[in-house]
Amino acid sequence: MASGQANWNEMPAINRDLLAPLQGAGLGYFLLVVLLAAMVAAGAGAWFYQIETGIGRTNMHPPIFWGAYIASFVYWIGVSHSGTFISGVLRLSKAQWRRPITRIAELMTIISVTIAALCVFYHLGRVWRWYYLIPYPNQREIWPDFRSPLMWDATAVFTYATASSIYLYLPLIPDFALARDRIGGWRRWCYSVLCLGWKGTQREWETLNTAIRIITPLIVMVMISVHSIVGWDFGMSLVPGWHSSIIAPYFVVGAVHSGLGMVMVGLYFVRRTYRLEPYIRPEHFDKMGKLLIVTTLSLAYLYFADQLTVWYGNIPDHMAILHAMVSGLYAPPFWTMIVLIYLIPLSTLTIPSFRRWPFGMMVVGIGINLGMYIERMLIIVPPLSRPRLTYNWSSYFPSWGELTILLGSLALAVLLYVLAVKFVPIISIWEEKEGRMSAGGHG
């Protein structure tokens, strides 16, 4: 401990720096909250209108029975992989540089799982009957069909949402205790409930460490299963373009890809807004950039392997979809996607100095997320619009109502994040201290 002396003396400064984002808020913050709340209200209004007038307000029609809501569901579940991947996998591999990033990413996870669940409800006709989905012995003898991948999906997403809330909460307990002692007002009451009366005895620390260590590998396994099952929602059907054995790993890697991109965006704005440059340093962007190169290449490899077999097999039903994407109606979004999620990341992130440039990394992150959203739409729309029987071939673009609802939910995600930053220490304070301690102690 003597060798870590300087680091122990840094603690008041760390507390001050990392609790600062929780305190006070400027005019800009309030304007942002008002703007986002207005967008959320518009989305809520559009959803209410859709509930009142029926699901026909969307542009979904036979044969395109899944549209932007389901694409958004897949997209948001994908983004939610950020937190689990970064904090789970990096915690497992004991990567020290994870410490300032984990909380930022875990918050994203829980918020985007919430938005993903909302997207399912947007898509439900007669949404007020949602509880028919729950298996319980009801009077109507309605029982969910476990053969349906959608049922697996519901189970997996519920497990994932529960597990990732727990995973966000556990390392927060000591930080809540810290905040309880230093932040007044109504939040003090919340913190004192949430911190479970944390005192910081060695038995408490050991319990916390044990729980985190047990849950971390479990949640990584849940994470992989969740997006695999989302992939199987598509892969289990015989629809050309979906029926592929590679679709589950492809979805998982794609999810991590967009998740990492989103974390980059979050890191940039949190760091800039709250002047956390001493904590979130260029080397964190550098490490994230390297991870992104791995996901870019893996994703490109899986996508190529998938499409190559389609092209070589030359089955007419499958080729109709491939043609529609590469050179047909869907060529513009298809090539935009290729550029955004493969070409731009590969051509920029491979330059070491670029990886240390936070603004550039943020822009690449936004590009990846735009591209991945297009990719989700391209997974859903072209195969559905080109069924084997040609009589109702058609296409789809979301209606104004759908777009309003989805923009509203994007605003809701940002709003929840912006509000959460005022409630949750955005960098795990005790883990940051622990990291500096051990760095000082061993180095």
């Binding site: 840094e10 007020w128 002692d181």
Partner: protein, 335 residues
């Protein structure tokens, strides 16, 4: 047990305190390890092998996981047992599906139970401790020694030991019982009320539905909206061609193909091949002859008299007649 004792000495130490010698000296003074709590702003060791009684936490995780598997099998496998009929040559719930559902319920139970157990363990670990100096988070270390005997000599001895180890402040502390928290119950009641409110609507009884023995609808109902555009077709003659395109795709393309070459997806299953509509033996037919074929059918082609109105049939004829010209235009566009 030491946990239940209500009197203790607490001491705040500066950052450079050596904890191991302190604990050692306290033990030599007859204080058991369970009576000493060291509060720090971060874990002093990376040890993660907490036990509840004699059971390691991970054993509880594993038991919960097994219960989770049982729950998954109960739901997915139970569904298979309740509905044993085979559909499409496959059981209603296959083994892989039971596996997938059980995997998820296993993870759910394992994680949730681990979490709850840890929360309870954390709460129990500091049951007797009421005070913690907030300076601990600034890097100070707090030691709490709970006392079984309150004789002044003994307290003085421990106080001395703490002082010698470099304590800045030493306090005598008596614990009071904490009040229970009612907010959890209130939240549960509100949630239950919200769930109950869902049972109020009865609109399933008021929906338009088919009557028994009612004939199936062949036509789209009046004013129905076509599938690939949101606009209602007005039916003027100028637009009959675009109507013909749609109707051809809906009614004809599965046999005659989207381009009219007679290569639709259903063609392979027909004993008489559908006509290639671009060929001269079709194109040389007059409008009324084509209209006649469409109305009455030909060979395996069904009559469309009952399916399409006269106007609709005429629009398809107009489209079929325009096929060679469209093909030429397409070629011209490609070059």
């Amino acid at each position: 047990m030491a946990m239940d004792e209500h009197e203790a000495l607490t001491a705040l130490f500066p950052r450079q305190v050596e904890i191991d010698p302190l604990v050692q000296s306290l033990r030599e003074a007859g204080i058991s390890e369970a009576q000493i709590s060291i509060m720090t702003p971060l874990p002093l060791s990376e040890r993660a092998s907490v036990r509840l009684g004699s059971m390691p936490l991970y054993v509880i995780t594993m038991i919960a996981g097994l219960v989770g598997i049982a729950i998954g099998i109960f739901f997915a496998g139970g569904t298979a047992a309740m509905y044993p009929l085979m559909t499409g040559g496959k059981p209603i719930v296959g083994a892989p599906i039971v596996g997938i559902i059980s995997y998820e319920t296993m993870m759910l139970l394992a994680i949730v139970v681990t979490f709850i157990t840890s929360v309870v363990t954390i709460k129990r670990a500091h049951r007797a401790i009421t005070e913690r100096d907030s300076r601990v988070d600034d890097g100070y270390v707090m030691a709490r020694v709970s006392m079984s005997s309150t004789s002044t000599a003994r307290i003085g001895l421990i106080r001395n030991l703490l002082q010698r180890a470099g304590s800045l402040e030493i306090q005598w502390e008596s614990t009071q019982k904490e009040k229970g928290n009612q907010s959890g119950k209130a939240i549960a009641v509100v949630l239950a009320a919200i769930c109950l409110m869902n049972g109020c609507s009865r609109d399933m009884q008021e929906q338009p539905s088919y009557e028994p023995q009612e004939a199936p609808r062949l036509h789209s109902p009046l004013g129905a909206v076509p599938r690939d555009s949101r606009a209602v077709i007005t039916g003027s003659l100028e637009e009959s061609m675009s109507e013909g395109v749609n109707l051809f795709r809906i009614n004809c393309s599965h046999c005659h193909g989207t381009t009219g070459r007679g290569d639709g997806p259903a063609a392979a299953y027909l004993k008489e091949k559908p006509a290639d509509l671009h060929k001269s033996d079709v194109q040389t037919l007059s409008d009324s002859a084509l209209y006649d074929v469409l109305t009455r059918g030909k060979d395996v082609m069904p009559p469309f008299k009952g399916e399409l109105s006269a106007k609709e049939r005429r629009s398809i004829v107009a489209y079929v007649k325009s096929l060679p010209k469209r093909m030429l235009e397409k070629h011209a566009n490609h070059q």
